[in-house]
Symmetry: C2
Subunit: 470 residues, 2 copies
């Protein structure tokens, strides 16, 4: 098996396999089976999304998977964006359908005909909804578990607002939601307003949420969109203002997928296996009893008691009582990425401590039996903090500034480029074409940067980031 350094792609695929996060042998390419361990982690990630949605008063809904062709085709840019990558249901039972049905690639065209019925008056706004469902895209590029698949585990929030101002406040709230979730995953990310030619089909603008893989390629882990009235017009989502006018609603969406899990693997795992952030680890602590023949019962008894105390405090913990050598157990749980390992042997019991080993950095130490819960929580918190900091440091190291276009020549593969960009599409395309590199966008939150366009040399350019994407 190649190392993460040598061949990220191969390493990634093998890491997913050996941790048993999904089974790729399902007989349709790009549609994998969620095995119990992977699904537990994803469900935990979903629970954070639900927590944030509840805190911001979004209602969970669940819309049908199938969308009639007639509804699907109402917004012109949207259908153009998805025309080549949707699956079509054409038959039911033994007969052809009168109207073909599309498997949702995303749910705008399923939801908005209903929003048109739900939104009547300004009192119905803001309408804030979300769902977590399966969506489908016929990927023609090479598929990769959790990163590029054909059946997607999809979180999508959809909102309607009285005007642009209120809608853009929603985008700002979305950014806070993303921040809260990424913190749980110890994932650094950047927020970039995508170029006009790279925005979501039908959006007014798109804020891309990117993280950086160890090979210097960026991975989009989500996106927030302001739609303006681009969809509310074709789908006729209007409301009556206080003064009795009928006006179109302004809309936003936020989308995230199982790529969040893919990013966790790509950013944190090492050549040994996964490193799971404590917040999403199915087991946060694994306890390995270290015993000889004469003290087995005592040691296992203490291990179970420790587990019981931790469980009562809401920590996810497992005692590995399998009949196997400790070293072999260590190895198994390192592959699975359990953040914290406790070893408890006769000596530890004598000393009134548990010995711990951190998965993130290998550090060892002890926690007193008299402060088990408190001590465990403290170490788990430290692991989270350190994992985020380590990832941040690594990702920041990838960025190079380029004062002018020719300077790109001297930048090696696998780097992220910060250039000056006057904002005109011509300069953007020229840059992208020359270096076969994608402009990811301009910062959503203003950066302290002034300079010239790296392409045309004009003053007053904004910073833009460019990179190869995974």
């Amino acid at each position: 098996m190649p190392t993460k350094e040598q061949d990220f792609g191969e390493w990634y695929n093998e890491t997913v396999d050996k941790a048993d996060l999904c089974d790729k042998r399902y007989p349709i390419k790009g549609m994998n089976v969620w095995t119990p361990y992977g699904w537990k982690i994803m469900s935990q990630i979903d629970s954070f999304l639900r927590r944030e949605m509840e805190a911001t008063e979004h209602d969970e809904v669940c819309f049908p998977l199938l969308i009639p062709e007639s509804e699907f085709k109402k917004e012109k840019d949207h259908i153009k964006g998805f025309d080549e990558e949707v699956y079509w249901v054409t038959h039911a039972g033994l007969n052809p359908l009168d109207i073909r049905l599309v498997l949702r690639p995303t749910s705008e065209t399923a939801m908005y005909p209903m929003f048109s019925l739900w939104v009547r008056s300004h009192q119905d706004l803001p309408l804030k909804t979300f769902q977590i469902v399966n969506t489908f895209r016929y990927e023609t590029k090479q598929t990769r578990a959790f990163m590029r698949v054909r059946e997607i585990h999809f979180f999508e929030s959809h909102t309607c607002h009285v005007d642009q101002e209120d809608a853009e406040k929603q985008v700002a709230e979305d950014v806070e939601i993303v921040d809260a979730v990424c913190k749980e995953l110890c994932l650094p990310y950047s927020l970039l307003i995508r170029t006009d030619w790279d925005k979501f089909p039908g959006a007014y603008y798109t804020v891309g949420i990117d993280t950086v893989m160890p090979n210097g390629r960026t991975l989009q882990i989500g996106s927030a969109h302001y739609y303006s009235t681009n969809f509310s017009k074709p789908y006729n989502i209007t409301y009556e203002t206080e003064s009795g006018e009928h006006v179109y609603a302004h809309q936003t969406t936020l989308g995230m997928t199982e790529r969040l899990l893919g990013a966790v693997i790509g950013v944190h795992a090492d050549d040994t296996g996964l490193k799971l952030p404590p917040a999403i680890a199915p087991q946060q602590i694994v306890i390995i009893p270290i015993f000889k023949k004469d003290n087995a019962d005592q040691v296992i008894g203490v291990c179970r008691d420790v587990a019981k105390q931790l469980k009562a405090a809401g920590i996810r913990v497992k005692v590995d009582e399998r009949n196997d050598r400790p070293g072999s157990k260590f190895f198994d749980w390192e592959i699975k990425g359990v953040p914290l390992r406790f070893e408890i042997g006769g000596k530890d019991i004598e000393n009134g401590v548990v010995t711990f080993a951190r998965r993130d950095n290998g550090e060892k130490g002890t926690i007193g039996m008299d402060s088990l819960v408190e001590g465990s929580k403290m170490v788990l918190d430290m692991i989270s903090k350190d994992m985020l900091e380590a990832a941040k440091a690594k990702q920041q190291g990838f960025v190079d500034d380029v004062p002018c276009m020719d300077a790109v020549d001297s930048i090696p593969e696998g780097r992220i480029v910060r250039l000056g960009w006057c904002g005109c599409p011509e300069c953007g395309h020229k840059f992208e074409d020359k270096y076969d590199i994608k402009i990811l966008g301009t910062p959503y939150k203003a950066e302290n940067w002034v300079g010239k366009c790296s392409v045309c040399g004009k003053d007053g350019a904004k910073p833009a980031y460019a990179a190869r994407t995974l």
Copy 2:
């Protein structure tokens, strides 16, 4: 709007609409939108299924929606059973697919090719998995929200075992799981082994789980199946025994759907609206402040404080502070089926009590402020118990015994018939054809009954139940 008594079907549809459990205006017949209130109740039901699965060591998985035609057609009876009711994906993007894909109507044919890879040795058994997913059936009969839909919210557990004995123990465990879930829903049910011509396509036998609607028709709310080796043979699910033989695994499944919610509506709701069992009510208690101008702040303050105490004890509670008359608020929450209403006014505060009204039977009473949590839990428990008892009493009243076939003639519509059946298909078909009534099956748990076959008169017949189904 007709009453429940007058026209069950119309009443049911209207009750679903006015409680806003789903939106039926989606542009595909039989595919409804789960609105927030309905989805919250369903998610709560799902959480009970997950709790029972965890307690019985089933692992949650998630398999792809799409199944290649080649895999789907491996078990002959199964495909015959579903041939006329599956949706086919034939195109992706702008091109036809090489192999047509079916939207799962149930997941045997998606899972079992993988089980064939997962099960190797007797040590891999039992394999116990489940998933909660969307499945699809092209219903040609009239659709009805939660009861007969084309996109189904589906719970399915799938297990593999060393032999028939272990598999049938699983069916017995399934029955316990069903019992635990139905208790939360205050739903009486019966367990009947279906006739051979009515079992699940591919099953060795099927245990149908039925409840009775107020019009005397039965509704299947779930089913457990013993498959024997009917699927493990075509899908080649074998394991190596301790002695080195390779033998086929024995399989079982348990399936339940959103019909559980449909049953809750049909069994418990009345002409005013829903009556939700406390375990699944999004709000278990609604607090209505009763105030005059001069004590509004005080009353609302007390209501909020009461809510805070109840919330801290894990009770789902809401204070209705809307600017509206109390009577109008009562009405809204009765439609929504909130099990318990608290009214708190100046007098209640003086007396140190809250006044309550039960949704299930309209009874009123008071709970002392000093035993708020305890008292509330007690009343909620009583509601659950009384709802189950009331439903049981009602359902048992529907059954009539028929000593011989002609006696059926004198039984009016909307009754459930207990007949004696020798078990031969001829007698069964003769009975069903003559009365246009379905034999639901013979009791899964033996009943204290001996008699003659109501059709042929032979001795040693078993009891069987027959009814019209919804």
